[in-house]
């Protein structure tokens, strides 16, 4: 069993201390701990956070293993500092049965780079017509708690209401991809001055906001938990703030790219910037940052969406929606939130580990970094920078919008239940099964 002593590490901005990881848990925390038989890791100058938890990852397996596999995607996650990811249900076949979610969960366990928690589809084949067997997925070995038709909106109000009600039986949550389909028919980018100039069909903010408003009201009416995926507009933030003030049990996530990038990047028609929901305006970015800072938005979730070269090397209109996110998430959040003084490292830990784990009802993820807790830890160097090189990403795909960009902080090491999955910013040699949960 691995046994590590992290020397002089900074935990959430406190004074440097030692962190002893043994038998999969945090054994001791304190200054000048005895080495014992542990491997010593000099962590001076490094910050320790609970292993990051992603609520929104596309691993593409089964179905599009050319773009990503569970193994490649979870390695990318580990390199990004994640110890757990939620695998979205829009695979082929869709993750709408206990069989598929168990397959994805098992692939994750076998790869061993981080824990994989499959998201179950809300409806059969994500078609928005009839509920999938949510209970069977909840009761499966994958123990699904988050359900989403992500990529499609559950736009039928009755179906959404029933889904919200039904998952109460196992403390589940419906994660809605809020997109009114009629208002976004053939939509290509944010509707505004840039779309008017570029002649691309607009994806109006109201198409997101109207669904969020409806879903908040439904969740309040039936007393259920609602989670809103990839919030992208200032108006959505206002609705969420209102709903939370009313006591409605709603949580929300924002992607790293919506915290940093804006729709004027579409000007050259490079589909690397094509994503759903689309990049919005600088005003939206400012509102999203403020909402993440004040907690109106609970979590950062990557919406890591790998796509093969041929699905992106096309006309804008023919290209797939989505961009990579796992390996750059922390750097983007550091750029958008930490460098700007909006969040400190404790805040980052809360939005990228603690709250996502709570929303997903994950035991053993999301900290705290205290004796007895599972040793899921990421060490980052806040003084370092990383220049993003698409060719050196662990993901099978290359569709990162950050190519050539220099981002603050570097993930130095990631520990999954005490075992290093990443050391010195590279995949740890040991590999092997992580044992799952």
């Amino acid at each position: 069993m691995s046994n590590w002593l992290l020397r002089n590490v900074t935990i959430l901005g406190a004074a440097p201390t030692d962190l002893h990881l043994a038998d999969g848990v945090i054994a001791e925390v304190g200054r000048g701990l005895a080495t014992g038989g542990a491997q010593v890791f000099d962590a001076a100058g490094l910050v320790a956070l609970p292993g990051l938890v992603d609520l929104h990852t596309h691993l593409r397996e089964p179905g599009r293993e050319d773009a990503e596999t569970v193994a490649s995607g979870t390695l990318a996650a580990a390199l990004g500092g994640f110890t757990a990811v939620h695998a979205m249900a829009n695979t082929d076949p869709a993750a709408d049965t206990a069989g598929v979610v168990e397959q994805v969960w098992r692939l994750g366990r076998d790869a061993g780079h981080c824990d994989v928690f499959p998201v179950g589809a809300v409806t059969v084949r994500r078609r928005g017509e009839q509920l999938a067997e949510l209970g069977a997925m909840a009761d499966s070995a994958a123990r699904v708690r988050v359900f989403s038709d992500d990529g499609h909106c559950v736009d039928d109000a009755v179906l959404m209401r029933r889904a919200l009600e039904y998952v109460k039986a196992f403390d589940g949550v419906v994660a809605q991809h809020a997109q009114e389909p009629r208002l976004t028919h053939a939509a290509q980018m944010n509707e505004g001055v840039v779309s008017a100039r570029l002649g691309l069909t607009g994806w109006p903010a109201v198409a997101e906001e109207s669904v969020i408003a409806r879903d908040c009201l439904l969740a309040g009416h039936v007393g259920s938990r609602l989670h809103v995926c990839h919030v992208s507009t200032a108006g959505s933030v206002e609705i969420l703030r209102w709903a939370k003030a009313k006591g409605i049990r709603v949580t929300a996530e924002v992607t790293p790219h919506h915290l940093l990038l804006t729709d004027d990047l579409v000007t050259g028609y490079d589909p690397v910037y094509k994503v759903n929901p689309p990049l919005r305006t600088a005003g939206d970015v400012a509102a999203l940052r403020a909402a993440l800072a004040d907690g109106t938005i609970d979590a950062v979730a990557t919406d890591h969406a790998p796509h093969s070269l041929e699905d992106k090397e096309t006309e804008w209109g023919a290209a797939a929606f989505g961009m990579l996110g796992l390996e750059t998430a922390l750097g983007v959040v550091a750029e958008a939130m930490v460098s700007t003084g909006l969040l400190d490292w404790a805040g980052v830990a809360d939005r990228m580990a603690v709250r996502p784990a709570r929303i997903g009802r994950l035991d053993g993820q999301g900290g705290p970094l205290e004796p007895g807790a599972p040793a899921n830890v990421v060490l980052l160097d806040p003084a370092a920078t990383v220049t993003v090189d698409p060719g050196s990403l662990a993901s099978r795909s290359r569709n990162t919008p950050y190519a050539g960009m220099t981002l603050p902080t570097r993930v130095v090491a990631t520990f999954l239940r005490g075992r290093p999955t990443v050391l010195d910013g590279k995949p740890a040699e040991s590999g092997g099964p992580g044992g799952g949960r």
Binding site: Q188, E191, G192, V193, V194, S195, A196, R197, L198, G199, L200, T201, G202, P204, G268, Y269, E310, D311, E313, T314, E315, W316, G317, A318, A319
Partner: protein, 309 residues
């Protein structure tokens, strides 16, 4: 001159005027008994049309041939090429054939921009989706200047489906560069969200704009817009935004009526208007060849060529 012509907005005032002046020279060639110049002999121009457009393709073809270029018409519509990897592979094929210029028409906005990243030759945007059609704007400006003697200060009114019109986008940008004042007239459903950023006025009231218009340009209403809830009926559209003889009578005496074609006679424009002396519709077609000759000449062989993008 730039290497590509992708957007009318990329042209400076001097560059735009150079195109118009060069087009005037080219028009003299067209009037001569032998309508041919040796300028682009040995150069290859490819017409890459992913969308049917006989008039635009023919215009470019004639322009290139009058400059003695070798012309290849590459019609991608109906072939296996329809999207995606197709465009890149087509680009590589054209590259391998040694195309000096590619004239592209495509149903998707921005396709010429993508193509320009994949070929060494010049790319001319001959209409991309609902984005732009810069040579149309140039031939429109050329036509206005030859009819009215100036562009500076002209009041130009564009009427119709502004939202989906590449002609409108290119005209707004180019006319602004050349000092004309543009007013857009359409039902509010056919004005894009974000239009406030355009260098143009917007009006929903055609009759109020008519008396101060030096130029009225009617835009085609696409069949697929009818019945897509943009307006209640063809008849209502025609009543409120169509140009008939009564409305034409409200124009100042020297004003002209333009249409990029093809027209829906009886819908956005009445037959007696289209065929009236105010109409420049046939001249626009003639001028189109001269303007496209000028564009190809300047991009490929002309004195201003060679500068990078």
């Amino acid at each position: 001159m730039m290497r590509h012509l992708l957007s009318a907005g990329d042209l400076s005032r001097d560059e735009a005027l150079l195109v118009l002046d060069t087009a005037a020279e080219m028009a003299r060639v067209a009037a001569a008994p032998v309508k041919k110049l040796p300028t682009l002999r040995g150069r290859t121009v490819v017409n890459l049309f992913f969308e049917d457009s006989t008039r635009t393709r023919t215009s470019f073809e004639l322009a290139a041939k009058r400059l003695s270029a070798d012309v290849i018409n590459f019609s991608a519509k109906g072939s296996a090429v329809s999207k995606g990897e197709g465009l890149k592979d087509t680009a590589l094929t054209l590259e391998a054939m040694g195309a000096d210029a590619v004239v592209i028409r495509h149903a998707m906005s921005g396709a010429p921009h993508r193509l320009a990243g994949w070929v060494r030759g010049s790319v001319v945007n001959a209409g991309d989706g609902t984005h732009e059609h810069p040579t149309q704007a140039l031939l429109d400006a050329f036509t206005m200047r030859s009819r009215l003697g100036r562009l500076e200060g002209l009041q130009v009114t564009l009427v119709g489906d502004i939202l989906h019109s590449r002609v409108a986008r290119s005209n707004v940008l180019l006319l602004r560069t050349l000092g004309a004042e543009v007013t857009l007239v359409a039902p509010p459903t056919l004005i894009p969200v974000g239009v406030e950023d355009w260098p143009a006025q917007v009006s929903y009231d055609f009759d109020r704009v008519l008396p101060k218009s030096d130029v009225v340009m009617m835009l085609r209403v696409q069949r697929e817009r009818m019945g897509a809830v943009y307006f209640p009926s063809v008849r209502e559209y025609s009543r409120r935004y169509g140009l008939d003889a009564a409305r034409m009578a409200m124009l100042p005496p020297e004003s002209v009526v333009m249409h990029p074609g093809p027209m829906n006679r009886g819908m956005e424009i009445a037959a007696e208007v289209a065929d009236s002396p105010r109409s420049t519709i046939v001249e626009q077609v003639t001028n189109g060849v001269s303007v496209r000759m000028a564009v190809l000449y300047l991009l490929l062989g002309g004195a201003m060529g060679g500068a990078s993008e």
